[in-house]
Each structure stands twice: as structure tokens, then as C-alpha cells.
């Protein structure tokens, strides 16, 4: 018997951060939450997004202040590093709490 999500929890869904809520951006945030910093090649390989998608989503996260992007060089080769900001970490944590409150312990849909 699966437990039902609470009405109060479901109401919180309207407050969910839509910057975080997008699957590709959520994936990027979760990857960055596991590491201190990562370059775009690593993000590309871990997220399995295309370059264009990755660039676009990281750009939106940077605009929102959740990700910090640092462009530099390794020898003569350019390297772009990304890392979560404290606001980004908080946003991920808030999102996790919101979804947990909304969905409760149920992970299956009742038949």
C-alpha cells in the first residue's frame, strides 16, 4: 500500500525552483554537487548532453547565480571550469526538500 503525498506538500510544487527543475540543469547541478569543480569536458561526458545543450544550460545556471564559471588555460589549451556556488548548493537542497515534501515517501503510482 503506497502512501499518498500530502496536500500541503503538493501545494509546495507551485513554488519549485524552475531553474533547478529542468532535467538537464538538475543533472548538471547534481554532478557539480559531487565534485569541487569540473571542466566542461567532464560535464559533457558525465551528463551525456551535447555541447550546445550543456553550454545553454550552464549559462542559465550562471545567470541564476547557482554556478560559477571560470575560463582559463592549461598550457595553450583553453579550459572552462564550473563549480557550484553556495546559492547553488542551497538551491539543490531546497529542491530536494520540496520534492520530498510534495511526493512523500511514495515512489510508486497507485494502480
Amino acid at each position: 500500500m503506497s502512501s499518498q503525498p500530502s496536500p500541503e506538500g503538493l501545494n509546495q510544487l507551485s513554488d519549485v525552483d524552475r531553474i533547478v527543475h529542468e532535467p538537464a540543469r538538475l543533472m548538471i547541478l547534481l554532478i557539480l554537487s559531487t565534485v569541487e569543480e569540473a571542466d566542461f569536458v567532464f560535464l559533457l561526458n558525465t551528463s551525456e548532453l551535447t555541447w550546445g545543450n550543456l553550454s545553454s544550460h550552464v549559462g542559465k545556471l550562471e545567470e541564476a547565480g547557482y554556478v560559477e564559471v571560470e575560463k582559463g588555460f592549461v598550457g595553450k589549451k583553453p579550459r572552462t571550469l564550473a563549480r557550484l556556488t553556495p546559492e547553488g548548493r542551497q538551491a539543490v537542497e531546497d529542491y530536494r526538500r520540496t520534492m520530498q515534501a510534495a511526493l512523500g515517501p511514495a515512489s510508486e503510482v497507485s494502480k
Binding site: V35, D39, V41, R79
Partner: protein
């Protein structure tokens, strides 16, 4: 993204990509245990002290080679990521390194043992238990360590490595009736299997991940 991953899946995948995707870790592990398999031969030539020095020196060389080769071949393809320095991960790293050192210590101990360790067992225990007590204990220790690593990092082959290395050590103790005097065939076989897996993973990695020339 075909299946919906959980947060744990993403974290494990990230850790796996950082450390276990390219096969270099397996090649290092296989090399170390192959050195252990060859240990009795070089001990006969060099004596115990010089042999231990050679073994430690070669391990350092193997570790340095693995680091340099990863930097040259894996990083340009996989990208760079710096692991988190959270207290939890630091503890995990210290425990993992400690357990790995303990594992090597156990295996070295059994290689150097001349039957003295069997006296640790109670004299009322069966003869086979007294004789192979340490080697029997190495099996669950190895299986435990590698299984824990396999679970934490989501790397299935680590479960196999634990059994391979633990059982090969026990097999060697039974076959050679104590410390071997020539090439340690069971341990060498296990090391060879791990090296073959590492080489296969490396070839697959080089094909799957081309060098990334782009950057944003």
C-alpha cells in the same frame, strides 16, 4: 538520458568516471599483485631486505606511471574534475587507503610467513585451520574491502577482484604448503586477469572517449 537516474546513481557515475572508467586503476592493481606473484623469485636473488626495497620502489614507479599516463591519456578525453573535500569523503578516503594498505600487508605477511603465523591458532583447532588461518582470514578481508569499494563507487568488477585476490592467496598457501619459492601461480593468474580487464577497459575507453578539442 534514457533511464531516470537517482541522485545516488549520478554521484556514483561521477565518482566512477573520475577514477575507474579508463582502466588505469585496474592496471595498477594488477601490476602490484603481479609484483607480489614475482616476489618469491626476486627474494631468492636479493634476500629479504633488498627485495622489500625493490618491491616498494617498483610500487612507487607503478603509481607514478599510472598518474602520468592518466594525465596524458585520460584527462584530455574524460575531462578534469576535482573531488570534494567534505569531511565525510576525507574519512572515506583515509579508511579506503588504510584498508588497502592492510590488504597488502596481509598478503605480504603470508608471503613472508614460514609457518610461524599458524601458531597463533589454538592447538585444539583442526590442523588445516591452524596451518592456513591467516590465509583463510585474508579471504573475507579482501572480499569485504573490495565489496565495500564496489558498493560505494558503483563499480561491479571490484566484487570480483575481492574474491579473485582472496581465493588466489589461499590457493597459493595450499598449493605451496606455506610461502612459495618460485612464481606464485594463483596470485599471478589473478593479477593477469585483472591486468587483462584493465587493458580491455583502456582500449574501450580510448575508443569511447575521443580527445575533446572543443571548449566553450
Amino acid at each position: 538520458m534514457s533511464d531516470t537516474p537517482t541522485i545516488q546513481d549520478i554521484q556514483r557515475r561521477t565518482n566512477r568516471l573520475m577514477n575507474y572508467e579508463d582502466g588505469f586503476w585496474d592496471l595498477l592493481l594488477g601490476t602490484v599483485f603481479m609484483l607480489l606473484a614475482v616476489y618469491p623469485i626476486t627474494r631468492a636473488w636479493l634476500g629479504p631486505i633488498w627485495n622489500l626495497g625493490l618491491f616498494i620502489g617498483l610500487m612507487v614507479v607503478a603509481l607514478a606511471a599510472q598518474t602520468l599516463l592518466r594525465r596524458a591519456f585520460a584527462l584530455p578525453r574524460l575531462g578534469y574534475a576535482k573531488g570534494q573535500r567534505s569531511p565525510k569523503l576525507k574519512v572515506l578516503l583515509v579508511v579506503t587507503v588504510g584498508l588497502v594498505i592492510l590488504t597488502f600487508g596481509f598478503v605480504l605477511l603470508t608471503l613472508l610467513d614460514n609457518g610461524r603465523l599458524s601458531t597463533l591458532a589454538n592447538s585444539t583447532e583442526p590442523f588445516w585451520l591452524r596451518k592456513f588461518l591467516v590465509d583463510i582470514l585474508v579471504v573475507p578481508v579482501m572480499v569485504g574491502i573490495f565489496s565495500a569499494m564496489g558498493y560505494l563507487f558503483g563499480v561491479a568488477r571490484l566484487y570480483l577482484y575481492g574474491w579473485l585476490l582472496g581465493l588466489s592467496n589461499l590457493a597459493a598457501a595450499i598449493i605451496y604448503d606455506g610461502a612459495p619459492e618460485g612464481f606464485n601461480v594463483p596470485l599471478g593468474t589473478a593479477a593477469g586477469i585483472i591486468l587483462a580487464i584493465g587493458a580491455t577497459l583502456l582500449v574501450r575507453f580510448l575508443r569511447k572517449y575521443p580527445v575533446q578539442m572543443m571548449d566553450i
